[in-house]
Structures are given as structure tokens and as C-alpha cells.
Amino acid sequence: MIEAKGVSLRYPDGTLALKGIDLEVKPGELVYITGPSGSGKTSLLKVIMAMEYPTSGSLKVLWQPVTKGQTGRINQMRRRIGPVFQEFKLIRGRTVLENVMMGMRFLEVSPRQMKENAGSAIARLGLAHKTHSSVENLSWGEAQRAAIARAVARKPVIILADEPTGNLDHANALNILELLTSFRDKNTAVIITTHATHLIEKQNNATFIRMDGGNITIERRGKANEECLV
């Protein structure tokens, strides 16, 4: 569902963020993108989300080429992705329910279905008691779970989470990773960037993409993760 061939990204200021990356992500795969700050993790996610476009190489997301100027196609592609942004990007002045529903309003989903999806995602993330609370009144952890609820309520085929463990203590970081990986199924791939490698080093059923200075190394572990590649 994601295929990158020789993808490079150079920012207008001349910084080379990605250097000829080759990568393939299949449905149902769990992918951890790790590396120190400035290693290109967020740049890779930006390219996948079509927030930036490769300066060279080719990239296909959901089997569609990601190229500049294809707004309609990019929008279609983004509607099938559930992004969890590092800074959450929740809309202030709206409730948790309104934020979660906002991600579905332009999808082909009936209002009843929309409410059901939002309600069950909010409940699964343990925020049922905060459904009608304004997002300004949420704690850091609650806001993060609201952002995850917004991403998963859309029933995406790719969940992209950018540094979801940042600013969290060990236990909470593990909880969030567990929660995110629980949405992985045979059709849904989960891609998580993190610099906290100690939290995932014992994972034996995932793909690890290690980034360093725009270069990557890929390691696939576990039978289930290999099977999903077939």
C-alpha cells in the first residue's frame, strides 16, 4: 500500500531530509520508524501524507502516485489515512465528539454511522466520560487519545502516528503504543515514528525502519509481520 523507490526530499533551504529511500509497506503491517531527532522520521511521514513531495524518486501511497498538483487524488488518499499528529491538531472550542466527527463529515458516511463510529472510538480509547468536554479541558494524555480516536473512527487503512510517545512516561508511552498497535488488522497498517527505541526493542512482530541522516535500514521481525507481506 506504500511503495517508495529512491525517494529523496530536499527542503527549499537546501537540507537533504531523505536520501534515495526504498520502502514497501503492505496491508496489515506494523511499522516502527525510529531514529534520533532530525533523522528524517517526520519528513518520511510528511512525504507519505503528501505534505511534502519527493524531489526525486517515485512514491505510491494506496497504490496511487503522490505527485504535486493532484489535489483531488491526494484528498482521496488522505481520507483513507488516520493521522495522529505530534501536536494532535485538535480543534479548539469544540468537544471531543465534534473533533472526532469532524474527521468523518466529508466521507461517505451517514450521520448515524458517523455518531456510532465516533462513540465507539471514543469509548475504546477510554474517553466516554469526556465525550462532550471541550478539548481545552483535556489533559495531555486525554488529548492524545482524542486525536487517536479521531484517526481510528474513520476506519482508515493506514494509521500514521508521529512521535506518540514523546513527553510521556514509560508506562503511559507503553500504553499508547499498545493502544495504537491494537488497531492493526489484516487490512490496516499501523506506522509509528518514535525515538524511544527502548520501548519497542522487545517487539518481535513488526517492521523496524531505522533512519539516520536521511538513510534507512529495514528489519522485519516475526511471522505474522512476514505473512502480511505475502
Partner: protein, 295 residues
């Protein structure tokens, strides 16, 4: 389409939020749009009144043929019959001195007291001739050349003046229309740009979630529409007040000016102002949206 219907409540709520975020500027925009549209309404009103006035005067193209000093009332009756035979004449009446006095009393109303200062009836008998406007010129010539007719009074000069005023108002109307259009569009597009800036985080998030431009932009179009429509309603209320007060004042001050029916004029102006405000609101919003498309 289905989604748009489902989301009506959401769009209205978003529009309310956009207005609320910049409350004071939006209130001033609403007031200034209302005042600008009020100026337009006044010009259209003046234009409408003068147009209707010209039409009414043209429909009533009428001359008064005054008898010379040697013509008695029997001869005048004969002249009436002769004039009836002239092409283009559709009504002829002999107005005697008493009727002429009575008419002036009616026109002057309370001011008719001034007539009591005269010892004798100061008005002359005359023949009132109504002519089809298209045939005014030749009919005038024929009536004027009849023996027994001293001089003729006709309203062509007044008509010409009113027509030139109407023409002037029409040109002023085009200018005001252009000024109103441009300034309203600038105000609305500026408000939309400001709204987009205030909501940039939300817009960015919606884009990343794959929302189409129409979904993101619709609440802003609604805001533009609500602002100008509100301005249109304000302008309509002001012009109705002005017309109602002005009509009473003008008809009291100048009772001899035939004013067109007020209801017809008011409803026409309201429809025009509301329609103009809707069109300008939508255009202004789209202009504002398009100017921020790539930012």
C-alpha cells in the same frame, strides 16, 4: 450533496464560530455593508421615482390652450369640437373659470386661503387637451394655429428636465452600483481572508484529513452571505423608513407632484437590494477564498 445536507448544522455552526472569532470587525463590516447598500437603495429610489414620474407625465401628456381675449364661451365650445377632430387628441374639455379656481383650491389645500385675497376670480377659462405622447408635436402645432386660441401651456419643458434628472440619476446609479460592488466585495473578501487566517490551524487539519476545498470553504461563503444579507436587510429597513417619512414630507410640501405608489416602489427596491447583497456576498467570499487558496 447528501453530505452537504447532513452537514447543514455543522456549516452554520462553523459560520457562527468564524464570525464570533472576529466579532467586532464582523459587526463593523455588517454595518458598513448596510450603509453602502443603503446609498445604493437611495440612488435606486431616486431613479425609480423620477422614471415613474416621467412615465406618468408622459402618459398624461396634456396641454392647456388658453383663449384669446375676443373668444367667448360659445366660440370656445366650437373650438372644443374642432380640436376633438385633430389626430392624436383623445380627450378635450372646456375648463371654465370656476372650475379652474376650484382646481387650484384643491391643489393648494390649506394654503388656498391665499386665493381669498383676490377680489375677482383670477383664473381664465381654458381648453384642456389630452394627446397621445407620440403625436404631441403635430397636435400642438394644429391646436396653436386655431383661430381663437391665444397661447398654449404644455409640460414638455418640465418633462425634459425630469428626463435629464433621470438620466443623471441613471449614470450616478451605474457609478454607485460599481462603487457598491467593489467596496462590498473588498470588505467581504477581507473579512473572509481574516477568517481564514484565524482558522488556519483548523483548515490545515481538515486538509490533512482529506477534506475537499468545497467542504472547507463553504462556511466562509456562508459568512460572506450572512454579512451582506444582514447589510441588505439593514439597508432595506433604513430605506423603508426613509421612504415612508419622505413620502409624507414631499406630498405635503409639493402636492402637485404626482408620486408613484409607495408599496410597489418599496417592494421593488427591497427585492433588488437583497438580491444584490446575496450576489455580492457570494462573489466576495469566493474572491476572498480564491486569494488565499495557495497560502
Amino acid at each position: 450533496m447528501k453530505n452537504a445536507l447532513y452537514n447543514t448544522g455543522y456549516f452554520l455552526k462553523e459560520a457562527k464560530n468564524i464570525i464570533r472569532l472576529n466579532w467586532l470587525s464582523n459587526i463593523f463590516s455588517f454595518i458598513s455593508t448596510g450603509l453602502i447598500l443603503f446609498i445604493l437603495a437611495m440612488v435606486v429610489f431616486g431613479w425609480g421615482v423620477s422614471n415613474l414620474l416621467v412615465e406618468m407625465l408622459q402618459d398624461e401628456a396634456e396641454i392647456s390652450a388658453y383663449l384669446d381675449g375676443n373668444t367667448d364661451i360659445q366660440q370656445a365650445a366650437g373650438l372644443v369640437e374642432t380640436i376633438k377632430g385633430i389626430d392624436g387628441v383623445w380627450d378635450v374639455r372646456l375648463v371654465d373659470q370656476t372650475e379652474a379656481y376650484g382646481r387650484m383650491e384643491e391643489i393648494l389645500g390649506e394654503e388656498a386661503r391665499v386665493l381669498e385675497l383676490f377680489e375677482e376670480n383670477p383664473f381664465e377659462a381654458f381648453i384642456e387637451v389630452r394627446i397621445h405622447p407620440d403625436e404631441l408635436e403635430p397636435a400642438l402645432e394644429k391646436v396653436g394655429s386655431l383661430k381663437g386660441i391665444g397661447h398654449i401651456k404644455e409640460n414638455r419643458e418640465v418633462l425634459g428636465r425630469i428626463q435629464s434628472i433621470t438620466e443623471g440619476l441613471k449614470n450616478l446609479g451605474y457609478l454607485v452600483m460599481a462603487a457598491v460592488g467593489i467596496s462590498t466585495m473588498v470588505i467581504i473578501s477581507h473579512m473572509i481572508r481574516q477568517g481564514i487566517y484565524n482558522n488556519r490551524v483548523q483548515i490545515d487539519t481538515l486538509r490533512l484529513l482529506g477534506a475537499p476545498g468545497s467542504f472547507i470553504g463553504f462556511p466562509f461563503v456562508l459568512v460572506g452571505l450572512l454579512l451582506t444579507l444582514g447589510g441588505g436587510v439593514l439597508a432595506s429597513a433604513l430605506i423603508v423608513l426613509l421612504i415612508n417619512r419622505g413620502y409624507g414630507y414631499i406630498s405635503g410640501l409639493m402636492p402637485f407632484i404626482p408620486l408613484p405608489p409607495v408599496g410597489e416602489l418599496v417592494s421593488g427596491i427591497i427585492i433588488l437590494i437583497v438580491a444584490v447583497s446575496v450576489v455580492l456576498g457570494i462573489l466576495g467570499s469566493l474572491f476572498g477564498l480564491s486569494s488565499t487558496k495557495n497560502t
